[in-house]
């Protein structure tokens, strides 16, 4: 095979790109995986993984210099002194906010699989049917039963700790032994269950942290450091580096090329197929072309759409997949940063040992079964109970020895619940190419024009009040609500820019994630989502990717691509 010819090209090395590379190489295809950022080698390049807080000059805080590099997304908090190497500096990769949007990007091998929240939830059957039943946007071209076996397939490989709860609203998957709730959380969970007569639930958050070693993957089980976002030296949480990349490399079929910015997909008019990609080497600024039989686009929702918008523009001015008029539209996120917190009396003789990489989860209870609200869809909660630390407020003591001794002991148990709500797909919430402003490689930047609307705003009232009511029902005192001011993007779950559908006039992709206008191009990251559900999306991206890869290879063998 010539140096620039492959069976498949995967654009992006994050959570879905890693899966595409693993599946395609294991099925025998020669695969080129392109990543626009630098390489991050597993363990070796997690430079902050084992440092203690006091080893950082600012103990993790953002300096003014860092804030300046990260403007405009300085308004929220994922990047700090410890993690900033894994987050894109906006000054270097600008975008244009038509309305405020925090676009958190991870331009490195592994993408945001290195920094993700790791919560893994299956969608339920209603999530796939809601658009059709409520006449919102368009219907999903698949149903829960189509994806269920792929959820199981993915869960078995990545390793998810969690408990089986038997709930229709949050289907059980295949789990490793669950990390336990602490004594205060168990008390609250029991209080909620009893007060709401089994219609509301609280249990341990299902996360991709392994609780049993996986020597075949070179992964050690979680050591309860809760420093996942720095990269895990034990490989205990799922990332491209800890799991899919080594599996793909083990086949001998993978070529990984960092510093490769895909400028466009090359389109062959006569065959109506893509023939490869053109890339810009981010270091040398040189242009290269690679050809392949199939292409998986996994550049993250906005960048996948950006690549399509820049491809085949001689045929479609709006780019490949734009014939429906939906490319770049229907941006969704999960709106959040709203909920309640309170103090738990008692359990002073109990504490926690170890730092869990998870918290609790409360699945959706609104607008299911007989519940009806003045908005549609719903939300879930994440949170955790813990004893307060030295940063708690102690008003009766001001300074001195007594004050210090008091702070060296843990305070009361306290809990916070933060809601994550579904955002509807609105055609006018969209990204477009900015023809005037270019980045340092001379490539057009994105305009981002996304806002919450009435449905989301109404839901947020419930997200606060329901959290308060549940905590009070469980017997908590001093419960207060909060709304820290969410703006789109802060959920870091942006999706929807190249949605799947049943009709090429209304969707960019078909039910197998194929671009209607180029059937050998598959988009399987967040871009493909037709609605958002309220649960964390990565597990669904992975399942959809594995399903599409299986389909693609079968079609390839049949000669259909």
């Amino acid at each position: 095979m010539a140096d620039n010819k492959f069976d498949a090209i995967v654009i992006g090395s994050g959570i879905s790109g890693g899966w595409a590379a693993k599946e395609l190489t294991q099925k025998g295809l020669k695969v080129l995986m392109l990543e626009r950022g630098r390489n991050i080698e597993h363990i070796k390049d997690y430079v902050n993984a084992s440092k203690e807080l006091w080893e950082f000059p600012h103990r993790g805080n953002k300096t003014q210099k860092l804030i300046d590099q990260y403007s405009p997304v300085k308004r929220d908090k994922p990047s700090n002194e410890i993690t900033n190497d894994f987050w894109v500096k906006d000054k270097e990769c600008p975008y244009n906010e038509i309305k405020p949007f925090s676009w958190w990007r991870g331009y490195q091998v592994g993408g945001r699989s290195l920094t993700w929240g790791r919560h893994c939830y299956r969608w339920n059957k209603w999530d796939f049917e809601a658009n059709l039943k409520e006449s919102i946007a368009i219907d999903w071209p698949l149903r829960y039963d189509d994806l269920a076996p792929w959820y199981a397939y993915v869960e078995r490989f990545i390793g998810i700790q969690g408990s089986r709860e038997g709930l229709e609203v949050l289907p059980d998957g295949e789990y490793l032994p669950a990390i336990e709730m602490n004594v205060a959380e168990k008390y609250i969970a029991a209080g909620i269950k009893s007060h709401y007569q089994g219609t509301r639930h609280m249990f341990i958050g299902r996360t991709a942290n392994i609780t049993q070693p996986r020597p075949e993957q070179g992964r050690v089980n979680c050591q309860y450091r809760n420093r996942c976002e720095r990269g895990c030296p034990f490989g205990a949480y799922f990332s491209t580096q800890s799991a899919t990349l080594p599996a793909a490399l083990a086949t001998g079929n993978l070529t990984l090329r960092p510093f490769s910015i895909v400028r466009r997909i090359l389109y062959d008019k006569d065959r109506q197929r893509a023939s490869g990609v053109e890339i810009l080497d981010a270091e040398s600024n040189k242009t290269y072309q690679y050809t392949s039989k199939i292409i998986f686009v996994n550049a993250s929702a906005f960048n996948s759409a950006w690549i399509l918008m820049n491809s085949a523009t001689d045929i479609w001015p709006g780019g490949l997949g734009s014939s429906s008029g939906e490319l770049g539209c229907n941006v969704m996120d999960h709106h959040s940063l709203v909920g309640a917190s309170g103090i738990i009396e008692g359990f002073e003789d109990k504490y926690e040992y170890g730092r869990r990489p998870t918290g609790i989860y409360v699945p959706r209870f609104r607008n299911i079964y007989n519940d009806r609200r003045d908005y549609i869809r719903g939300f879930g909660y994440q949170g955790a109970a813990s004893r307060q630390g030295w940063s708690r407020k102690i008003s009766e003591l001001s300074i001195g020895a007594g004050f210090k001794e008091d702070l060296t002991e843990p305070g009361n148990w306290a809990i916070g619940l933060t809601g994550f709500g579904e955002m509807l797909p609105y055609h006018e919430n969209r990204i477009t190419l900015n023809k005037d402003k270019k980045d340092e490689w001379g490539l057009p930047i994105l305009n981002i024009d996304v806002e919450m609307k009435e449905n989301e705003k109404k839901m947020r009232t419930d997200m606060m009040e329901d959290a308060k009511e549940m905590l009070e029902a469980a017997g908590l005192k001093n419960v207060s609500v909060f709304d820290r001011g969410y703006q789109p993007g802060m959920g870091i779950h942006e999706m929807g820019t190249a949605r799947m559908g049943r009709d090429p006039r209304k969707s960019v992709l078909n039910g197998n994630n194929q671009v209607w206008d180029a059937k050998n191009v598959f988009v399987t990251d967040g871009a493909c989502m037709t609605s958002a559900s309220c649960v964390n999306p990565s597990l669904s991206y992975m399942a959809l990717t594995a399903r599409a890869a299986d389909f693609a290879v079968k079609e390839l063998k049949k000669g259909n691509l």
Binding site: I67, Y353, S391, E405
Partner: protein, 180 residues
């Protein structure tokens, strides 16, 4: 999204009411060795050596200098530097000597007064009014001490690699809290 509220220790801007809030460039005012020594003594008065080391042994003065220089906005830096002068003047007014010359009872008395004043001010101030300088000092002292090595390992308990999780771990009054 990165899970929120998973622990009790809050790093950074949520706890630090001041600083780290806008992108004005800092002018890196210099803290002299004398300033650092002064800050060490102020911090030691807030968190003195007891059965465990105090703020001075944890080099909190130097840490405060780094934080104010690198993380504070120019406006907050100015408030902080002015505040140190105000503190010294208040001390001279009350005890006829500077803070470094005052004995430990006098230092404590002075800072208790400033703490009250700052709390009152913070309670009644408008949203855009500046933070009280003593609130800045106290926050940076607490943060600097409890995230330092002596603070984390001797005033608190620290385990780098716990290896297991127990959500119902026995606790007796007097047992130290875990450091992050």
């Amino acid at each position: 999204m990165i899970a929120m509220l998973t622990g009790s220790v809050v790093i950074g801007s949520e706890f630090l009411l001041s600083g780290c809030k806008n992108s004005e460039s800092s002018n890196n005012r210099i803290f002299s060795n004398k300033d650092i020594a002064f800050l060490d003594e102020v911090a030691e008065t807030i968190l003195p050596a007891t059965t465990s080391p105090g703020a001075k042994e944890a080099a909190v003065g130097a840490f405060i200098g780094v934080m104010v220089n690198d993380c504070y906005t120019e406006k907050d830096q100015q408030i902080f530097h002015e505040g140190l002068k105000t503190l010294e003047i208040a001390c001279k007014k009350e005890f006829n000597k500077g803070f470094l010359q005052a004995n430990s009872e006098q230092r404590t008395k002075l800072l208790i007064g400033l703490d009250k004043e700052a709390k009152e001010y913070q309670k009644t101030k408008k949203k855009d009014d500046p933070t009280h300088y003593f609130t800045m000092i106290k926050q940076l002292t607490l943060f600097g001490f409890f995230t330092s090595k002596p603070g984390s390992t001797q005033a608190l308990r620290h385990i780098s690699v716990p290896g297991k999780y127990d959500g119902s771990f026995p606790y007796q009054k007097g047992d130290r809290a875990w450091a992050e």
